[in-house]
Amino acid sequence: MMVTATAQRPAPSTDEAPVLECEDISRRFRVKSRLFHAPEFIHAVNGVSLSVPRGEVLAIVGESGCGKTTLAKMLLGLLKPSSGTIRFSGAPINEAPRAVIARQVQPVFQDPYSSLNPRKTLGQIIGLPLLVHQIGRPSERPKQIAEIMDVVGLPPYLVHAYPNQLSGGQRQRVAIARALVMKPEVVICDEPTSALDVSVQAQILNLLQDLRRDLNLTYVFISHDLSVVEHMADRVAVMYLGRLVELGETGQIFDRPRHPYTETLLKSILTPDPGQGLPSFHVDGGFPDPLNPPSGCYFHPRCPKILDECSRSRPGLVSDEYGSVECHLHQNEAIT
């Protein structure tokens, strides 16, 4: 049953402008300001460049505090970048009004229990974006809502139900319906299944795959579950302390990771293989203090393959046909 439904992913077309592009975007937050002292900043996202072709699933992975969610908020237009440019289909959105951004990119958040208004019916929740954006005539809205509920697999009689009458999986379907009713090009999925049980997670992941194929959607898929990422993504971006440290095709990243941090992440996946025991790997200490990031490469205090220059200078981002990596071990590969 599982084997027959093989992956039929549309090859991302390369001849048009990427649907989503960000160029050297950064976002800093002021965390402490005292009288007569210079304010202190956290660089939540620090010089990230990405481009996502139409129809692709780009996963962003990293530990908590690495800037995944800040990046997602900037892509959604909920936060303005401190510097850098974000473009949708070639047009910069830095100055664009929120309403314009919202028509192109929609979110699905982690927790379907807190992201749905408990006092509105499903019809009201799913129809609200149409109302706000004045899409279609009011008389057509019930039909539009019914259509999108059908697409995400919600039975029609639930249109008058309230979120507390639904299971977690159904709630996440509502969140997906609300995102898709705008017919966006890009959906930002921020940990879409981590609040769900595994059997429901599988249902939602299957739904996201089907929708992507049928509607030619582009996903930015944020997750800390690397098994899920491996299953869903075409390309993977690994973030550490606000920086993009490695980017590549999913197969490349999982089979031949280049950044030691990516290797560490991959080793920590616990696949259900009894008898293999727990992975033992060398990562000292925890996540560094983002207020005082380490010198040079941010990962060097925890890195098992540390070189002399790692603490002195920050490596440059090296790009080749396999992707890009920011590590002193791979600095020489760029010239070829």
């Binding site: 992956a7 595994v198 800390h224 299953h231 616990l270």
Partner: protein, 336 residues
Amino acid sequence: MPGAANPVLRVRNLCVDIQVPGGTLHAVRDTSFEVSRGETLAIVGESGCGKTMTALSVMRLLPRRAALFAEELTLDGVSLTELSEREISDLRGDRIGMIFQDPMTSLNPVYRIGDQLEEIYLRHGKGTRVEARQRAHHLLDRVGITNAEARLSQYPHELSGGLRQRMMIAMALMCEPALIIADEPTTALDVTVQAQILGLLAELRREFNTAMILITHDLGVVARAADRVAVMYAGRIVETGTATEVFSAPAHPYTRGLIDCIPHPGKTERGARLGAIPGIVPSLIGDLEGCLFRNRCAFAENRCATFDNVLSPAGQGHEYRCLLPPDKVGRAMVGS
């Protein structure tokens, strides 16, 4: 048979009923298991299947509305059901250590870490304040917290999530308990920290020869960290056996379904549909008859509605509750 040799904890036919507005909710039904010294038993299942209620029953921390019945519930031969509130409170933290999911909410934010660790030691009359301090210091070193002396005078909010969970582990070990109950100990943590914490738990369990009940919904954690597994569904243990047996040759359709639900890098095909268990967990209110998985089961037959839920043997120490022969559901795609 593992677990047969002088178990620390014996549970026989445990039932927990909770009075709710709609009637009686049968949260745990006829659950029996044993844990020996130095052994980890994982209880796995989806939310609402009764795993946390089972753990709370052992600690006698059930909500007031819940009623507990058990033919046997003994810790080192002492019947836990017959103890007074005062006596069971003496056992908690002393003979039974507890580690909860969210270390932030289970630590008191207004007391220093050192005071919270010492309090357990002093509360159970294990020694003087100076000895308590020494023990706390020693255990913080043991769980891999560097600079223990300084940490003891910090408050919980000054520590990262991983450090707080190490703190909880140190706290659980203060009085060298015979049994540790860890309820989703790594769910709130990053993947890299998760592997470290599980490794630490395994090491300490060996060193102190403690029995451990590990409650989790993460099959990867179960496969890597547990000796034996009990799969719970709708308040009942539907399959139990060694981790190797249960994962490589699941006998219950629910176990098989759970294993097929999770993407497994290198084993499941990227982008292919995941095997999902249709439907949701049934309500446990009122009279429950037959196999409660039958509405979601691919192998369901008419006689499932009257199945008396007996445990049948499926191998050495491997039992399951299903009418099907043990090899009927087939080998799982993963884990073999």
